[in-house]
């Protein structure tokens, strides 16, 4: 006991002498914490954790919503292997993630660099460029986007003016993906704001020093901006990749919920939705959902593992 007493720091000794009030206060604090956490905790358990556990179970069953699930073991997963639509869904989603995400980030970084250089009216432009990503996820934008790319729509008229073969993109399986990638690029506002904040953190002295050494703008960008910004790039890349895998609303609207034309916009989540809610194959859909979760988790781990080779945390020595 005495040994223990000497180890208690001076500040806490007083409370140890009066243990009751302190403990009561602690209990009260804990109780209060749970009361405040309650709404979130109930929501998390009932709306997130519960359904996730349920869907993990359903992934191994044949479940049509109407009757009790039947255990089928790995059948759903083996069926995925020979499902041509499933392969198509991966192809479509893969192209979207691999092409769409880098383009979106490039657009975001380019605009952020421009805004960072501008002094006058930067606040206005920042808001203006951010606007599309506020409304971008909405159904109405997808509808407007579709209208833009129809026969005789603005894009078609521009194409005709430039002498390219006419015709809307909406009904063309070779063009529909470009439409969706353009839509996601246009919503660069989120990562742009984060890039902009990152750019403000890059110390001016580094550029000044580089200028003294005779470095040009490209050299400055590659040798200073990119390494200093790499944690922000990492963060944006990770978030946007995860988001891209989960694209649903715009693809649903633009293809009328079918994944058409000719399966060219059959995104993973859209196919999952069709299987679950159109075809009553909830078990199959749950299996797809879990594979997607695992793939995203794997990619996240991969990102973090490789990050130490290219992400530069400035810390104190950078200053």
């Amino acid at each position: 006991m005495t040994l223990e007493l000497t180890q208690v720091p001076a500040g806490e000794r007083r409370s140890h002498l009066h243990p009751r009030p302190r403990n009561r206060r602690r209990t009260e604090n804990v109780r209060a914490a749970y009361v405040f956490l309650g709404p979130w905790l109930i929501g998390f358990l009932l709306l997130t954790a519960g359904p996730m556990v349920a869907s993990l179970y359903l992934a191994f069953t044949d479940y049509n919503l109407f009757t009790a699930p039947q255990w089928v073991g790995l059948d759903n997963f083996t069926r995925l292997l020979d499902d041509p639509n499933y392969l198509q869904a991966w192809k479509v989603t893969g192209v979207y993630v691999l092409v769409g995400t880098p383009l979106k980030l490039a657009a975001a970084l380019a605009v952020a660099l421009l805004l960072n250089a501008t002094v006058r009216g930067a606040g206005f432009y920042r808001s203006a460029f951010y606007l599309p990503s506020l409304v971008g996820a909405s159904v109405s934008i997808a509808i407007v986007w579709k209208a833009l790319f129809m026969d005789e729509g603005p894009v078609d008229v521009l194409q005709q003016f430039l002498g390219r073969p006419a015709g809307g993109w909406v009904g063309d399986p070779d063009m529909s993906m470009r439409m969706l990638i353009l839509l996601t690029m246009w919503q660069f506002g989120g990562p742009m704001v984060i890039f902009l904040a990152g750019l403000k953190q890059v110390p001016k002295e580094l550029y000044e020093a580089a200028a003294v050494d005779g470095a040009g703008p490209v050299r400055k960008f590659l040798a200073i901006t990119v390494p200093m910004l790499s944690p922000v790039i990492f963060f944006n890349l990770l978030l946007e990749t995860i988001n891209a895998f989960q694209i649903f609303a715009s693809a649903f609207i633009i293809s009328g919920g079918t994944g058409g034309p000719a399966g060219s916009t059959l995104f993973y989540t859209l196919y999952l939705y069709l299987r679950g809610f159109r075809d009553f194959q909830m078990g199959y859909a749950a299996a797809m959902a879990w594979i997607l979760t695992l793939v995203i988790a794997l990619i996240t781990v991969l990102f973090f593992r490789t990050s130490r080779f290219w992400v530069h945390y400035a810390g104190d020595e950078g200053r």
Binding site: F66, G167, G257, T258, G263, D279
Partner: protein, 443 residues
């Protein structure tokens, strides 16, 4: 030391207990609500006219259908002052998403619009009430075509009442064909003659503004394919299995590439862009094969085409394969607290001539002859009724029974036909893919 440890553990154990307790409470609550929802009382077939009853009624459709249903419900409520009917409606796809969730939680509306495509799921798994106790009593089906009464059966039990029916017809835009200088075909065409006609019309329509094509790629029409199967002496479903081979479907799909290579049918690129309008309604095609009761929809389209109805193509010496397709059906949720009142509402919507007068032909041809008497036909309705009379003696096909996965089969049919139209797959491959999906859907 020990006393301290115990003091620490005390509240902790208490806390765990309390959390566990609240979980048990939540669980019990869920279980209790599940019980009340699942517990069904014995169906009553009598109505207490004094009892205040509220019924929920829901359907899919557009605003004009909603307006018509509301008028009909007003009449029903006036005749049955003790009953209040709460209504709601949505578009077809959303409608089924909502119903499916309700079915899973056993909270279906008292009365709701049903489609043949989903009848097997709802009837087979006991989510809708069997209507045997009401047929002949609260629900009068004497004036309904027996084939349509039969169509509402799943595994021998009547689980839906058919309020309307429809048949397929060739629709021709004769004035447009005359402008293009294309000879208007007559009633008896073989499939090859039909394709040749579409090609002629398409060729003549090249360069007009807007571009006019012969027709729409009819090989994507699931129900027309079933009529064609009937013409070949094959059944779509027989004894719960598909009654034909992939080779039969491949033969049907093999008509598609030639149509799409010429201007015989509207290209898929164009078709995909039609949103809320029909190719026939905007007069970008000269003909189509579609449901006869869609005539007003097409005729009242932006281009107001003047359309005439003809028998669908069939090869010489073959049946027409035509059948009355059950249109809008009505079912009663198995969880309904007032099934007798619900049955009364179903009967009213089925048989009442005034209701039929409100709907006209917009639901399809009324299934009940009592209801038909209430229709004051306009010129479009006359055309449909004339066509129905004309083919009444040629209905030698049979509608498919309600089988599980019919909805999926239709959607998949459209999907593979779409890929075929774009030339992304071959007729044989499309047929094989549809078969694989259909067999899984059929269960």
């Amino acid at each position: 030391m020990t006393s301290r440890a115990r003091r620490g553990a005390g509240p902790r154990r208490h806390r765990v207990g309390r959390i566990a307790g609240s979980f048990v409470a939540i669980g019990a609550l869920l279980a209790a609500s599940a019980c009340t929802a699942g517990g069904s009382s014995a169906p009553s077939t009598t109505i207490d006219p004094q009892e205040k009853v509220t019924l929920n009624f829901t359907w899919w459709g557009d605003a004009s259908r909603a307006e018509r249903y509301e008028k009909a419900i007003d009449l029903f409520e006036a005749a049955n002052p003790n009953v209040t009917v709460k209504t709601s409606f949505s578009a077809f796809a959303d409608y089924w998403t909502a119903r499916n969730t309700e079915a899973a939680s056993r909270t279906l509306p008292d009365v709701f619009q049903m489609d043949l495509a989903y009848l097997a799921e709802y009837g087979g798994f006991g989510h809708v009430a069997p209507l045997e106790d009401y047929l002949g009593g609260l629900i009068d089906v004497d004036a309904v075509d027996p084939a349509l009464v039969e169509a509402g059966k799943v595994e021998g039990k009547t689980v839906a009442v058919t309020t309307s029916s429809s048949t397929m017809a060739v629709m021709l835009n004769e004035p447009l064909l005359k402008t293009l200088g294309v000879e208007v075909p007559d009633a008896d065409m073989t499939w090859d003659e039909w394709d040749a006609f579409l090609a002629r019309a398409g060729a003549a329509g090249a360069g007009s503004d807007p571009e006019v094509y012969g027709g729409v790629d009819y090989t994507a029409y699931f129900w027309l394919f079933q009529i064609w199967l009937g013409q070949q002496g094959l059944a779509f479903v027989e004894d719960g299995r598909l009654g034909f081979e992939p080779a039969d479907l491949a033969r049907w799909f093999s008509r598609s590439p030639a149509l799409n290579d010429s201007r015989a049918v509207m290209p898929p690129e164009r078709k995909a862009q039609l949103d809320g309008v029909d190719a026939l309604g905007i007069a970008e095609v000269s003909a189509d094969i579609n449901w006869a009761n869609f005539l007003p929809r097409f005729a009242e389209g932006p281009a107001s085409p003047e359309l005439s109805l003809l028998l669908p193509p069939h090869d010489e010496g073959q049946d027409t394969g035509l059948f009355l397709k059950p249109g809008l059906m009505l079912s009663i949720g198995a969880n309904s607290d007032h099934p007798a009142n619900a049955a009364q509402l179903v009967d009213f919507l089925l048989n009442d001539p005034e209701v039929a007068g409100i709907f006209g032909m917009s639901r399809g041809a009324p299934a009940s002859k009592t209801a038909t008497e209430g229709i004051e036909a306009n010129s479009l309705d006359e055309k449909i009724l004339d066509y129905q009379d004309q083919i009444a003696g040629s209905l030698d096909g049979t509608a498919p029974p309600a089988v599980k996965g019919l909805g999926t089969m239709e959607q998949t049919f459209v999907t593979v036909a779409d890929e075929l139209a774009y030339g992304r797959t071959s007729p044989q491959e499309a047929a094989d893919r549809w078969f694989a999906e259909a067999e899984i859907a059929l269960g």
